[in-house]
Amino acid sequence: MAEADQPQDRAIPQWLVVLAAIVAVVAGALAVVDAWWDSDEGDTAKGGKVTAEASSPSPVTGGERAAPLSSEQVAVAPAIAPHPHLVWLNDIAFPAMPDGRAILVDADAGTMRGMISGGYGHNGLLFPPDGRRIYNPETYYARGTRGKRTDVLTIYDARRLTVEGEIVLPPKRFMSMPLIGNAQMMGAGRFALIYNFTPSQSVSVADVEAGRFVTEFDTAGCSLIFPVAEREFFMLCADGGLLEVALGPDGRPVRQEARAKFFDADRDPLFEKPVWTGDRWLFVSFHNDVYEVGAGKNGRIAGRKAGWRIADPRAGWRAGGIQPLAVHRPSGRLFTLMHEGGDGHHKDPGTQVRVHDLKTHAEIARWQLERPATAIAVSEDAEDPLLYAVMIGDPTLEVYSARDGTLRRRIGEIGITVTLVQPLPVSTGKGDAR
């Protein structure tokens, strides 16, 4: 410390001469590289490409130079204001599954707004009714692709997309091609339910308000989670029946009852990819028949054939894909993704969307998609609903008007293998399921 205060020798020290020489050599080398780079750019310009800078009037020759830009400080983009044309694209990142993600897109602006990093085998997000948070069931391995597996329900701030906390779950989360029934919210946003498959079947319950795991219970023979009331849900069973489960106020199951077969899982299975209409779940079968499951007159959950179909399968067109159905509640319309093909083609991408009135069952419209799609979804707003279409492996979101099927825009370079499309919920209401 004391030495630093000593006056320095006025003679130029030898090390400074050496340093100056090095600087001179480096500067010379940089000048050479600079000239080479310029010549490269000149070639490009000769090829017909004119840069924006070159084509604009010179700020020097044009007279007064504009005031310089003020200096900036790096920051984080402000919190995202929710609106009904925000949409989450869930990407399982199939060629690199430990790195799943959900991408938030503004369909009005045609821009990406943010991302949630979803871990291994990312499925889809959970939105509580108040819209303040987002929950995501996630799987991680201690050493990336190996080591101890940990499953968590990660809690995100819905507007800042920051991690606010996590609830550790049994490491048994079902991992499949993404399905909305893999996890659901219940109890007016208090409970998150996660379907497990090891291949023993069970359900985990987390209390997101208390921030803790509640319980896990067996559901042998039955899969997925479809809530119909604040604390009641059903699961689809391999025999074509369903399992009704009621939760107590603490999230623990108080009743489990098997319901008799209501569809033929062997001859005409239901796609396990239904939509919630506001009071019931609507399913479509491999042969285009519509089924519905909801609370019956006695308050118990019942499934039945709805008595109408999307199209006569003999005409060659069938529903299919990863997310084949969408409902727009304000207009009471059902949108179905259709492809041409017979048995064994039920996951083929659709090229057409058919629109039905949910009350009259009449076909209102039939739209040709510009590109094949494996998933469709519709925004929830009444004023200007949008139809989203995306195909797994084609990183492009197409945005159509859900009123007349006209293409509004195409947003590219979005995701790797996008599966489920989740428009931002507008208002889900108390105890509402989705």
């Binding site: 500067a27 780079w37 190996r146 899969s223 064994g344």
Partner: protein, 177 residues
Amino acid sequence: MSGKWLDAWMERRARRLYRGTSRRHALARIAGLLVGAGMLPLLPVSRGAAAHGEAGDKGEAAATRDPNSCAYWRYCAIDGFLCSCCGGSASQCPPGTEPSPVTWIGTCLNPEDGRHYVISYNDCCGKTSCGRCMCNRNEGDKPVYVPYQSNDINWCLGTKVGEVYHCSTAVVIGTAE
């Protein structure tokens, strides 16, 4: 003082790099489209033209006999990356991966002898996705609530190495007759 010209030089570099980026960007986009186009035939959208993978274009009949082709007869209900393109074979996992002890079962017609065979689609596990020869065919595939007939499930269950999926095999179990 030298800091100033260095800054200026860096700034010029940065500007040019930025412009260069947009050129490379265009190339990257085209490359992306090509990758996308490479994937499309392997998705069910155009299964008729699915005789690709490492097999090249050998025609439909030859493709049904080629384990590197999505059209190979055993793959009639497969969903994933073909282990035969990943260092394994139709019935072998690539080195260092572990076969899943549980899996889904399909039935496929062998055009060579006209017999139907029961095929076990064991996944190979413990390394990240192979990423080659993506193939999805769904003959007899059922929704996940009929698990043992569903190819949408990650079957890397009950392994020592964990559930990270690498690729899929198609092992002949026996005739279905």
